[in-house]
């Protein structure tokens, strides 16, 4: 290699900003030097950390405050509004900002202003009552209710507006412009019975498509224009959403390319959670196959029970901010199993790229492997989290085999085993993916004991958190930290190091000894959960999130 290494080029390579000779040169450097590869990995990790930060949003009244401020600004004698250069009033359309930006109550809209206000209040109440009575069975419904609320409810907007622009009434007026209808909830069209619901989910087909995932397109690079407008603005300007493909209720859709051969090796294992899930699964998720197609839309069944759980969660977490976020939601899709941050991440993805996906489904171990294969050539798996009790994780890794398990470790480094009586988390933490360490993962789970203090520097931070958790659990009456660190030390060797973190257990039985035999007993109620997070290759900073988990 004749050219000296420039790490600045490496950064540009990560951003997909290099072409031709420069790109080839960087690839040569990477092929030749582990240090360079490590630096690139670090830069990728930094990107992921930044993108994982929670996104912050404004309240729904912000736009109104802006319009009021514009009105005030353009009313000032020394502030030349752009409308000076705009066509004369005769050519104006809509409501001129300098006249009355948002206060529709002062406009002649066909009936007195107070009636509009009263209508707005009534509509708000009706929407709320409808939402309560309907007890939204899917988060789609919740989202639609929230959509209406944002359009017509003063709520936060009024408070916010009062803070900045104490002009009563302005933020409380409907923000939907005249002539444009308020989106109405589609509750009546949704059956609230216990039957499975079909919820539209936009699928990220590129993740399944090696070629498409390799390089970002121009469209990828211009996600800003694709950001869906919040509820309220004219729908005509909103980018069109992909048309949903109709999947017959209960009928499995064709598996995506590359997943056709997903088999049931793991799902068929006696006592496995996947097997139980397979038996209890209905329709489209039979056999653990992801009912995605090559189209951009799949539909996933969400039971009312799942939706109720989601609703319960949001009710519990109904802080002001959470409520505000719900108000800001344009649409909620298949989040019956989603937590708040997962949901927020999904929404963020949607905002960044219209075709992105927040997809949740089910997967067998083999499906997981297939996805990993796909991911290896064009996208990158950021994390794989396997949650189950020790026996299940061990069984999963056995099924995958050492080579696949190594791949898991290479790609992910996160494996968690959750026992019925305690939570044992394992985290690979080393510089190499060695077979010994990978093979040891199930053993590590088996040998891990809770509450072991960690002297190792790299894990000190996490261990501090563990202590907090343990303390919190102790305060709840759960048994205190347990015994020795032999197993832990064993796996915290030089390379590879498999770090085990024992998070305090819970449950009436207190901590269970984490052993394979004990875990086997615990597996009477298996809790296997596979969560796969995929981000695309370095060239594309915006990644899809695909989560796969067996359903009850």
């Amino acid at each position: 290699m004749s050219e000296p290494f420039s790490d600045e080029l490496l950064s540009a390579y990560l951003d997909g900003e290099l072409l031709g000779e420069e790109r080839e040169r960087v690839e040569e450097w990477l092929a030749a030097s582990a240090d360079h590869r490590r630096l690139l990995d670090d830069l990728k990790a930094i990107r992921r950390e930044l993108q994982a930060l929670p996104r912050q949003t404004l309240d729904a009244g912000f736009a109104d405050r802006v319009l009021v401020a514009i009105h005030q600004r353009t009313s000032e004698p020394n502030s030349p509004p752009s409308s000076n250069e705009a066509p004369p009033p005769s050519a104006q359309q809509g409501s001129p900002i300098p006249a009355e930006p948002v206060n529709l109550a002062k406009k002649d809209l066909g009936m007195p202003a107070w009636r509009w206000f009263a209508a707005g209040v009534a509509a708000t109440l009706l929407a709320m009552i409808a939402g309560i009575n309907a007890a939204p069975q899917t988060m789609t419904q919740i989202g639609r209710v929230a959509q209406v609320r944002q359009s017509i409810e003063p709520g936060e907007g009024a408070v916010g507006a009062a803070r900045k622009n104490p002009s009563p009434g302005i933020a409380a007026t409907p923000t939907v412009p005249p002539g444009e209808s308020v989106p109405t909830p589609d509750l009546a069209q949704r059956d609230s019975a216990d039957a499975s619901k079909q919820v539209e989910v936009r699928a990220f087909s590129r993740a399944m498509n090696k070629d498409a995932a390799k390089l970002p397109t121009d469209a990828d690079r211009q996600p800003k224009e694709n950001a869906p407008a919040p509820p309220g603005p004219p729908k005509a300007e909103s980018p069109p959403l992909p048309a949903p493909s109709v999947v017959a209720d209960g009928a499995p859709a064709a598996p995506p390319a590359g997943l056709e051969s997903a088999d049931e090796d793991f799902a068929d294992r006696p006592g496995s959670r996947a097997n139980a899930a397979k038996k209890s699964r209905a329709g489209g998720f039979a056999n653990g196959r992801l009912p995605a197609t090559s189209d951009d839309v799949v539909e996933l069944p969400v039971t009312s029970e799942q939706a109720d759980r989601a609703l319960a969660f949001y009710s519990q977490a109904a802080t002001r901010q959470t409520a505000q976020r719900l108000k800001n939601l344009e649409r909620v899709e298949n989040v019956a199993e989603a937590t708040a941050d997962e949901y927020a991440a999904g929404k963020a993805l949607e905002q960044q790229k219209e075709q992105d996906v927040f997809l949740k489904g089910t997967a067998s171990a083999r499906t997981l492997m297939k996805l990993m294969d796909v991911a290896g050539d064009g996208v990158q798996i950021a994390a794989v989290e396997v949650t189950g009790n020790e026996a299940e994780v061990a069984a999963l890794l056995d099924t995958l085999g050492v080579s696949e398990a190594r791949k898991l470790a290479t790609y992910s480094q996160v494996l968690r085993a959750r026992g019925a009586g305690g939570v044992v988390a394992m985290q690979a933490n080393g510089q190499k993916a060695g077979g010994e360490g990978v093979e040891s993962i199930p053993k590590a789970a088996a040998l891990a004991e809770p509450g072991v203090e960690s002297p190792a520097k790299p894990v000190a931070k996490a261990d501090a958190v563990e202590k907090k958790v343990a303390k919190a659990e102790e305060e709840k009456g759960v048994a205190g930290p347990g015994g020795g660190s032999e197993a832990r030390d064993k796996f915290r060797g030089n390379s590879p190091a498999v770090r085990m973190r024992s998070l305090a257990g819970s449950g009436a039985a207190g901590r269970e000894p984490a052993s394979l035999s004990g875990a086997a007993e615990q597996s009477a109620q298996p809790q296997l959960r596979v969560r796969l997070v995929i981000v695309p290759a370095a060239a594309d900073p915006i990644g899809p999130t695909i989560e796969l988990e067996p359903q009850e």
């Binding site: 830069l43 752009s82 900002i97 969660f313 977490a317 905002q351 480094q413």
Partner: protein, 193 residues
């Protein structure tokens, strides 16, 4: 750009609803970026509001040579920088994060997971806040908003070459700041052969 053109056209004719649509379309993305530069939610909201106001006032000078959003960002960044120079405001990104209310505990989430995630985000926030303003801004634009170098160049009024080198320096600094986090990271590639 084409999506915004009709709205811009209508806004220029004084249609408040059209400009309101533009505001709603971009407010959260702009705010989420500005909050990292401005230092607090309150300041970021003020900056975002002023940016939209100025965008409206100067809308006739927007000729569509760049995306409206890029143009809007440039306005916002100029406002943020000039306000910070004036106020010498203390960076308080943590305060902004706390107010965001994002990091609520998950239903069914193991307590450790939540704490780890929270702590992790806190560390990243702190590391970001420790960077210089110019490095923080360029990192946010690239990593969080996904702007291309050319767009960043427009927004920050920098040559593309400077964008490249500054971005790399910013990354190296953040890498240094996050050393512990990266070592402890579950997503750090330890499997490189």
């Amino acid at each position: 750009v084409s999506d915004d053109a009709p709205l811009i056209e209508r806004s220029l004719r004084g249609d408040s609803a059209a400009f309101g649509s533009l505001v709603r379309k971009y407010q959260d993305r702009l705010f989420n970026t500005v909050v990292h530069v401005a230092g607090s939610r309150e300041e970021a909201e003020d900056v975002a509001q002023e940016a939209f106001v100025q965008a409206y006032v100067k809308l006739s000078s927007f000729h569509g040579e760049s995306a409206f959003y890029t143009w809007l960002y440039r306005i916002a960044f100029n406002i943020a920088v000039s306000r910070r120079r004036r106020k010498k405001a203390e960076v308080s990104l943590d305060a902004g994060r706390e107010e965001s209310g994002r990091e609520v505990a998950h239903d069914g989430e193991a307590p450790g997971e939540h704490l780890l995630r929270q702590e992790r985000a806190s560390l990243v926030h702190s590391a970001l806040a420790a960077l210089s303003e110019e490095h923080r801004a360029i990192l946010v634009l690239r990593e969080m908003e996904g702007f291309e170098y050319e767009q960043i160049s427009e927004i920050l009024d920098l040559p593309t070459g400077t964008v490249r080198s500054r971005l790399h320096r910013a990354r190296l600094q953040l890498r240094e700041q996050l050393k512990g986090v990266l070592q402890d990271s579950a997503v750090l590639n330890f499997g490189s052969d």
